[in-house]
Symmetry: C2
Subunit: 114 residues, 2 copies
Amino acid sequence: MTQIPQLDIKDLTVFTDDTSEAPAQAAQFLKSLAHRDRLKLLCSLVENEVSVSELEEKLGISQSAVSQHLLKLKTEGVLKSRRDGRQIFYSIADPLVLDIVSLLYARFCAAGDT
Amino acid sequence: MTQIPQLDIKDLTVFTDDTSEAPAQAAQFLKSLAHRDRLKLLCSLVENEVSVSELEEKLGISQSAVSQHLLKLKTEGVLKSRRDGRQIFYSIADPLVLDIVSLLYARFCAAGDT
DNA sequence: GACAAATATTATAGAAATTTAATATGTCAA
DNA sequence: TTGACATATTAAATTTCTATAATATTTGTC
């Protein structure tokens, strides 16, 4: 079981402090995840690395779109890539997204989808 | 300690299933959080309910902007509101956001902000 | 080297989100 | 009921995001 770190409420002042860049950084991180197809891509990568063409076929998204979504996630540090011959394999670089995807799954799939 | 539900990897096919609306719903939920000022608002509400004018002053955001951000979060079910006289107090309606904010805090505030 | 496969990049048009300003609504107090 | 306060709504301008198409780059094979 992954544990969500206990939140000391007082610490949240860091988030409302005017000078901190944390809220903007956190927002940018969330934005990189906040797209239907990017969430699908991430879920396809939970188990293991997958090549771009496989993702393309699996999700039915155009080559260009997949490539651009993957770039955005990689730029944000969420994904990493590895070349093998002509193919490029993407995988999850930041375990934090697994926690978030897990929470989203519990809310949007597990519960009301029976 | 809040627990993140254990993720059965196989279940994620729900997320990549073409017909499921879960990825779009989850993306919309994330989008409602993915804004610097909305994250600040949420953090201001972690402890207890706060009135609109207090939020306005605390975060230095215009009245209209605060109101519109709050509306978006309320529409998404993240916040709820209660009127008391002329004032309207907002509070967190969905505990899921606490988990997410907690994860974001651990990443973007606690770690590299020393 | 020429060609095909896999992926990335660029350009751009369209859609959505954000900001700001102005106006409207609801509530209280005199 | 009038005026002031608190919040919401609307509208318009701007910015950001997305989708699509076209082109470019890299790699392997012949």
